[in-house]
Subunit: 200 residues, 2 copies
Amino acid sequence: MPRLSSRGAATRARIVQAATELFFASGVAETSLDAVLAASGTSKSQLYHYFGDKDGLVLAVIAHQTELVVGEHERFLRDVDSLAGLYRWRDAVVAEQRRRQCVGGCPLGALAAELAFAPQPRAALADSFRRWESHLVGVFTRMRESDALAPEASPAELATMVLTALQGGLLLTSTSRSVRPLELALSMALEQVAGRLRAR
Amino acid sequence: MPRLSSRGAATRARIVQAATELFFASGVAETSLDAVLAASGTSKSQLYHYFGDKDGLVLAVIAHQTELVVGEHERFLRDVDSLAGLYRWRDAVVAEQRRRQCVGGCPLGALAAELAFAPQPRAALADSFRRWESHLVGVFTRMRESDALAPEASPAELATMVLTALQGGLLLTSTSRSVRPLELALSMALEQVAGRLRAR
DNA sequence: CACCAACTGGACCGTCAAGTCCAGTTTGCT
DNA sequence: AGCAAACTGGACTTGACGGTCCAGTTGGTG
């Protein structure tokens, strides 16, 4: 890998940006490299210069999409340390999905479904989900340390439950074009958390 | 649509069968019609004779996959009318996923993710999920009628919660190659049900 | 300012995809 | 038996795809 000049970095970023949007809107297999080039205003040689081949681009897009999605949740969850904060997070997630009229689910979830059998991308996405989960684990750890959560509650288990609810909710919401499944799924998960609050 | 002779029906079925397997293993976009023909031992003209084009085949595969997946759950859930029965169902789902070593998630979920932006397939899949949900609704309705469930519990809401948990659990299980997310998601959903049992 | 690596444009290639076409065979019906 | 509809095989067309190549430009560093 050669080191990037600032111009090179900008070109690379434009390609990744365009590919990220197209992959989300049409899927990886349905998106041609020519479409990526047209959308980013670059040429074949540039794409191959930076990514080697389509697989390389796919991995770069996974990394970028992870940054976007997980990054946003991290910013929101960073200083959540209460059930009330989690409910605000749920409301924000639902509102965002409503805003886009339930079109399209979770970008990472879509990639995970499409690339379930491709070893490298699958491993990369497993990592993304682990990172995502870790921010939820952070919330529950803080809640336990502040004695909001019962000491026997498992932050890791709660985090997994919330993330599965989120993914399942987004899938059904996108398919049915109604935010209801997402609302119900997240409410269910948070009720689970509520049931593990320290008895008082 | 011409009416089918028994030979025609068999040919049609062989094509759908092969396409169903290939679409699941590699995705719709990644699967060529030639591959379907090779796997089913048929020819171009037969495929176009029965399905018109690839989109037609996709819809037929959705219908067939729905029959397989929803049909299997229907058979299991048909005479479930208790929380214990639901736990047995959960155990069966988890065992099945373990049996296939967590490779690949829900066939319908994968199609829904890949075809989220394709109007016709998306609508067909929304229907499939509704059918799936309806069998869960049946379980909860029976439980409420037999007074196992509190009268204010909503069968429809519980069904949606269970289905989202199942879908999210399968996605993360397939991505992480561990049955843990699926176990946790379904346990969470059933605990939700348990919390709505009639107080005694 | 000179040099070399980083970068770029776009023509080009081989392959394989979806879809068309038609001549020929089988099937069910009368 | 005979006829029309259902069915089949596979050659063929057209175009788009991923990927290669190379000649040329830009830009940072000594």
